[in-house]
Amino acid sequence: MSLGLFFALTGAALAAATSGLGSARGVGIAGQAAAGSCTDNPDLFSKVLILQLLPGTQGIYGLLIAFICLSQIGLLGGGADPNMSLSTGLLYLAACVPVIIVEPISAINQGKTSVASIAMVTKKQETFGKSMIFPAMVETYAILALLISILAIFGVSAMA
């Protein structure tokens, strides 16, 4: 078994792990605020639930990158090359780096922004539409990182 495959697998695993951790934290933070908001006003449940779920997308992006990476290195279909070169493995790992770093940070920050938006909706229910925009802006950077990782993985795959 070559070190190349190990590094490629590490990239996929870290993409899923760090994004999942970030999303868990972000959704957790927003969930506390959502619960607090609903305690005195249960009518807000559907609105604050959407705001709570926003930081959950980063975990999905991480999972997506992990799937693509595993599929490109052949670990999903059973056609993995046990002699993958070290440089190819490192390139796969490098391709996953944007997701590994950006997704957890954006998930946590999006969770915090969701907390502020939940406070906004609690005070004025009619601001729900506007309150969605603020945490959604944080999503932009998660999507950019996802795009770069996808392009990079397919690029490495074409080279290999």
């Binding site: 506390q32 605020a33 607090g36 006003n41 915090k112 907390v115 005070k123």
Partner: protein, 321 residues
């Protein structure tokens, strides 16, 4: 740390919706009498019109603390800073009861952190070890002062100074910026009140140095110098401090100054209304409720005494929401 209170802050945000705002206060001021005020308050969830108003205020205070206990059951001691004044008031009462024969029901406040019975017993038996460490020396000094000089004012000054110092120290020790600012403001405004009253009574510098509590926004030595020279000198000194606005209010009356102090407190806590993290918004809610109760008490007293609406409006406090 700040994320520890997210649930609490979200619940506070919900409760802030039921705080009395400026328009409700205007409605109360314009009400035809106390009965109408009680009816409006009842619609806002305050007591009921059949309840005596003092009972209603007690109930509202209890409601606030029950809510806060529910939110932060493991960290209630952080809010002791708001209850220390009641502790020192009770200490004052216990010292006087120990030095004056007889039982005097109703002189103890309910909101403190210490059991009034424990204070009574400790002072009656001069068992200062039973008191919290920070209170022992001041309790001993106050009781000895009262027994030796029979000067109740000096005894009060000793305890009031200790109370102000305790609030400031507790605020600083909390590590919460809002509570630190609260402690500093309470201490500084307490010193200003003492200085003005002492100046009016012609008290000497020696008394002032015993009565004024040190704080970072005022130089107590300069304030004591000014107060021993007269009220004009106090106002001249305040003009050079961050409390320059207070001097204008003091020129009007002590009641105007009290109002300024309460409004300044509301200005200090107002940024917390937009803060979704930390203990600050919870602390601000407690102060907002206290301010609300105080304002309603002023309005009801004014209505009971047929005070004209325009005079009443000058006395009501700014609201948090």
């Amino acid at each position: 740390m700040a994320e520890q209170y997210i649930y609490a802050v979200a619940r506070v945000r919900s409760r802030e919706l039921s705080l009395l705002n400026e328009s409700v206060i205007a409605q109360l001021c314009a009400a035809s009498g106390e009965e109408e005020c009680l009816r409006i308050l009842s619609e806002k969830g305050w007591g009921n019109p059949d309840l005596p108003s003092e009972e209603m205020f007690r109930e509202e205070e209890k409601k606030t603390w029950a809510f806060i206990r529910e939110l932060v059951p493991d960290n209630m001691q952080i809010f002791d800073v708001f209850r220390l004044e009641d502790d020192y008031h009770n200490l004052k009462a216990a010292v006087k009861e120990a030095c004056i024969d007889g039982d005097h029901p109703g002189i103890f406040a309910e909101g403190g952190t210490l059991d009034p019975e424990m204070l009574k017993r400790a002072l009656a038996e001069s068992d200062y070890e039973a008191l919290p460490k920070d209170m022992r020396e001041v309790a001993r000094e106050a009781k000895e002062t009262l027994l030796q000089t029979r000067d109740g004012q000096l005894c009060d000054a000793v305890i009031d100074r200790a109370a102000l110092e305790a609030v400031r120290i507790a605020g600083e020790a909390s590590g919460v910026p809002l509570l630190r600012d609260y402690g500093e403001l309470i201490c500084a405004t307490g010193d200003i009140k003492t200085a003005v009253r002492s100046a009016k009574c012609g008290k000497e510098r020696q008394f002032l140095m015993k009565a004024l509590a040190p704080c970072s926004s005022l130089d107590v030595e300069l304030l004591a110098d000014a107060a021993s020279s007269g009220t004009e000198a106090v106002m001249a000194y305040l003009d050079h401090t961050v409390y320059a606005d207070a001097a204008d209010e003091l020129k009007k009356s002590l009641a105007a100054f009290e109002r300024w102090c309460d409004n300044r407190m509301i200005e200090t806590i107002r940024p917390e209304i937009h803060n979704p993290f930390g203990i600050g918004p919870v602390a601000a809610y407690i102060l907002a409720r206290e301010n609300e109760i105080k304002t309603v008490r002023i309005i009801l007293a004014a209505k009971r005494n047929d005070m004209p609406e325009d005079v009443l409006r000058e006395r009501v406090r700014s609201m948090y929401v």
